[in-house]
């Protein structure tokens, strides 16, 4: 078998793709790459269709190749090295048997995606490669694991054009569609919500990001449990918003003020603890235009 020997698993590294659809009626969450923008670029650079990638959180991952392949690294700058030499990201690299791939230190963003040509040879579970640790689907990489891929000999190097490489600022605006129980929030509460710089707390995970800032109070504290969409902003009893992301619970009973545009959630996935965000309302027509543009861009 050819592939990567895992010399060190890093803080949290696992296989992801675009997630698992069609199983929420069983309580199975979508999961998938937290930052679809970087993930989709890793696939586009390699012409992978229905592929997968390693989602690498912060530092510590170390792999040894037992065969040649072309790989792509996109997303956070985690001091990516081949044989201990720093290499540029947002591009492809050709590697050979014996090469050591490593990620040492986070400098910008949180999550990097490492994809290989034609994807890693792993089994799909419920039609997806995406790991969901809390559901016992897939696992985090650890020392001694082996990640199989089929060797390739492609020599061409491809780059993401400079203008498409995100800067990962530590403050930005999240566009939110007011929906769900937004009528539970008075004009005064909404004004507070839209005029606050919310800080990212240490409670940020693949499930959701908990924010800290002005307390928002709905007129009713609970609802009959209902389906939760990607990016939904839930206001629990303490009045501090939680943005629900790829591994959110499928149903829940806290009031929600609306949902953040998916492309902004992808940016949020790269934002470290202590960064700040501000919410701005977006209407449905603009949201549709924005997301159709996003998906069309990666289709071509």
């Amino acid at each position: 078998m050819t592939g990567f020997e895992v010399l060190a698993g890093g803080l949290l590294t696992m296989i992801q793709d675009l997630g698992r659809q069609g199983y929420t009626h069983l309580g199975i969450t979508n999961s998938g790459a937290m930052d679809e923008y970087a993930y989709r670029w890793s696939q586009k650079l390699l012409d992978n269709h229905e592929g997968n990638a390693l989602e690498i959180l912060l530092s510590g991952l170390k792999l040894k190749a037992t065969a040649s392949t072309t790989l792509a690294v996109c997303g956070a700058d985690l001091d990516f090295r081949i044989n201990d030499e720093k290499q540029p990201i947002w591009q492809t690299h050709h590697i050979h048997e014996g090469d050591i791939i490593s990620f040492h230190q986070q400098t910008k963003g949180l999550r990097a995606y490492l994809a290989v040509k034609d994807g890693f040879n792993v089994e799909k579970v419920y039609d997806s490669y995406a790991a969901t640790l809390k559901e016992g689907i897939g696992q985090k990489l650890s020392k001694g694991d082996f990640l199989a891929f089929t060797p390739t000999q492609v020599k061409e190097t491809r780059h993401v054009p400079e203008k498409f490489i995100p800067k990962y600022p530590k403050h930005f605006t999240l566009h939110i569609l007011l929906s769900y129980q937004h009528r539970f929030f008075s004009d005064e509460q909404k004004e507070k919500f839209f005029n606050t710089d919310y800080e990212l707390t240490p409670q940020i995970s693949r499930m959701g990001y908990k924010l800290k800032g002005a307390c928002i109070t709905p007129s009713k504290g609970g609802i009959i449990s209902e389906g939760i969409t990607f990016g939904a902003v839930q206001i629990p009893q303490d009045g501090q918003p939680i943005i629900l992301l790829k591994e959110r619970q499928t149903i829940g009973g806290y009031p929600k003020i609306g949902s953040v545009l998916p492309s902004d959630c992808f940016k949020l996935a790269q934002l470290p603890i202590g960064s700040t965000v501000r919410f701005r309302e977006i209407d449905i027509e603009d949201a549709e235009k924005e997301m159709k543009g996003f998906y069309d861009f990666f289709k071509s």
Binding site: H25, L177, G227, I284
Partner: protein, 208 residues
């Protein structure tokens, strides 16, 4: 089904919510199940998440927009005529060992009845699956008789073993895997087919 019984609302750029009357009852559950079966046959739908009185509908935005999805959903639900076989909600029987019920005494004391009465009451009701969530295969079953209804523990336990049969207020459920949780444990079952639960199914507990 009457048109006034439900409404479709936009919840995100690619999702709409079909809401029924804001009440937990079998009539609404049957409406949810009917609509769920109807929407399963609608094209370009990515995911459906049914719950007590709603269905979250995620759709392909290359095919629908926020207006056309509403039209399509309303049309589909109002025109759909279910096949008889689909309507017969299957009955799932769960064998329960109530001697493993570490909270039986507490539930009995809370309601001023004997533990025997708690077990009798719990096994006499045919429950319905109202929602599935919280974790994979966790089916929310209702409605537990008021005479044994008991609130959640004030401090949840770190570990409730897989197969625990428990109640919280007027809901009952089986833990499909080891998990933290605050429900009152009445017993234990070896039942393991959690993926067979579907919204609307009937469930009975049998004492062993």
């Amino acid at each position: 089904m009457q048109n006034e019984a439900y409404v479709v609302e936009t919840v995100s750029v690619d999702s709409a919510m079909l809401y029924f009357k804001e009440i937990i009852c079998e009539e609404v559950l049957d409406q949810v199940q009917h609509a769920y079966l109807a929407l399963k046959t609608l094209e370009y739908i990515i995911d459906l998440t049914p719950s007590y009185n709603s269905i979250l509908i995620q759709y392909d935005i290359n095919y629908y927009n926020h207006l056309s999805i509403k039209e399509a959903v309303l049309k589909q639900v109002s025109e759909y005529r279910e096949i008889t076989a689909e309507k017969s909600h299957k009955l799932i029987e769960i064998p329960v060992d109530y001697s493993k019920g570490i909270d039986l005494e507490r539930v009995a004391e809370t309601n001023n009845i004997s533990t025997e009465e708690v077990i009798d009451t719990h096994t006499q009701t045919t429950y319905r699956v109202y929602a599935i969530g919280f974790m994979v295969g966790f089916a929310y079953l209702a409605k537990v008789d008021d005479t044994i209804a008991t609130p959640r523990l004030s401090t949840p336990r770190d570990k409730i073993p897989k197969g625990s049969v428990a109640i919280a207020d007027t809901q009952t459920a089986i833990y499909p895997q080891d998990s933290a949780g605050g429900w009152n444990i009445l017993g234990h079952t070896d039942f393991d087919d959690f993926s067979s639960f579907e919204i609307g199914d009937r469930v009975r507990f049998e004492r062993i």
